[in-house]
Symmetry: C2
Subunit: 288 residues, 2 copies
């Protein structure tokens, strides 16, 4: 199936948030289908990003934002403070959560999952398991694994594929609080790409002078006056004290386009600190 | 000690994030010192906020932002989507974390704490306990309680007071990634207050037309042109799909001041959806 081959930006060693059965793995499998590479699960988002920064992997796939629970802070904070990597692709995938339990489970008193999956199913859990203890673990798949090998009164929130991999039963489907639930994943690499495709975005991180009224308004003006649409603005702590922030900005368009490049250059000139995450194509992957 | 009495906005029943030994409890104890009231610990932030919304408590104290780990999403999301409450006070408190263990602990292979406390000590944990499993629980005090009553190889991240309450040993102090670590707590109540004091802030939530380039720039312009400084802007998912956000804005000044009131009225008029969280005084509480 040559038509499903994807040209890799930098090579075939791909790191993703494991263990087997995570949504990140499903993304890797469907996105790189037909590519003869090495796909390595890592135990945490942090570890995936470091593997790329250290050169252990050429590309790393991590979640960056969910439509219900918002940004994945560890992804943003690691990109800002600890590594110098580029985003080479964004992949959006609808996310459906299921409650997974052992065949012999009758009563659930503990529910395990990734903190964002627990948050995405908050209403369902409150309605059906108001007294259950919610336990956050590293990934939805790790939760499935722990339930499969653990106590009978435990259940996990995860994918149908994780249920299959770990021999669990799907006891409820589509338990997320909103049917429109989807997650943005990003593929990270060392060095930027020349993005191709119908939809391209550009991301950057900047710190502005928060003491000066209107600084953020001023920065956003550089985009507005050039008709560059911002798809996202997110503040995170600058880690220098309460009230100091860095801003993650996602803009439509590519740094190869003059109006985007000019806006970004103007923002860089006005920032106390600045980091470009590059321009990259956006794809949508439907569940299998 | 009449001079330490605090006039309560609405009554003496105060809900806070328990169990005993949380930072929220320390805030309640020091802030309401001398007040003859009922102080009730609740098991989750969610439950504290609902207690106020349901009238079970007149005021509720919850964390809203940490200087290292950022906003407490459950607090923001619950205020936006599930209740109609006002902020009647903000309390800023420096936070120092400690590693707590049983007297007989020699080797630590599991570290428990609130997810934000784990995040605030990420560098310390990676350096000293790179192989330890990190387990997120409802609060720093719940972690201390579980370590005191649980396995010998577990440790908790929490306050010195939690160590004392649960009979644990402080094995390392000041383990947060940054000495400037502090947390903003808010006191919630039904109905707004007339804020008094040297420092007053006003908070609001709005949803703007994200499809229109420059919408956020336009909103921020309403503050900038009136010289109203924004101390914080935070986006959270609108929960209607990826790419739709609501914005939490904190401004300096009170709704009783004309320029603030005008800016807020202009933002309300331009918003698809709007919620005022009121104006409130800001206090800083030093650790005992």
């Amino acid at each position: 199936m040559a038509q499903t081959c994807i040209k890799l930006a930098a090579g075939p060693r791909v790191a993703y948030l494991g263990p087997r059965g995570t949504f990140s793995e499903e993304i890797a499998l469907s996105f790189y289908r037909g590519v003869d590479g090495e796909f390595t699960p890592y135990a945490s988002i942090d570890a995936v990003i470091r593997a790329v920064a250290d050169g252990e992997a050429a590309e790393g796939i991590v979640p960056v934002e969910n439509s219900l629970d918002g940004s994945v802070n560890i992804t943003l904070d690691t990109l800002a403070h600890e590594v110098d990597l580029s985003i080479v692709r964004e992949i959006v995938r609808p996310i459906r959560h299921n409650l997974l339990a052992r065949d012999d489970t009758r009563h659930v008193n503990v529910v395990l999952s990734h903190p964002q999956a627990l948050a995405q199913c908050r209403q369902y859990l409150r309605r059906h398991y108001p007294d259950a203890e919610l336990v956050a673990v590293e990934s939805t798949a790790a939760a499935a694994y722990q339930v499969a090998s653990g106590a009978k009164h435990h259940a996990a929130i995860g994918s149908a594929r994780a249920a299959q991999l770990y021999g669990l039963k799907v006891t409820a489907t589509d338990i997320q609080d909103n049917p429109l639930n989807s997650t943005r994943f990003i593929v990270l690499a060392q060095g930027a790409v020349r993005p191709e495709g119908a939809k391209v975005k550009t991301s950057l991180i900047c710190q502005i002078n928060g003491e000066k009224p209107g600084s953020l308004h001023d920065i956003l003006g550089e985009f507005a006056r050039r008709q560059v649409n911002l798809t996202k603005i997110e503040s995170r702590p600058a880690r220098t004290g309460l009230g100091f922030y860095i801003f993650f900005l996602d803009a439509e368009g590519s740094l190869e386009e003059e109006h985007v490049r000019d806006a970004v250059a103007a923002v860089r000139a006005k920032s106390l600190w600045f980091k470009s995450l590059g321009s990259y194509p956006v794809s949508v992957v439907e569940p299998e």
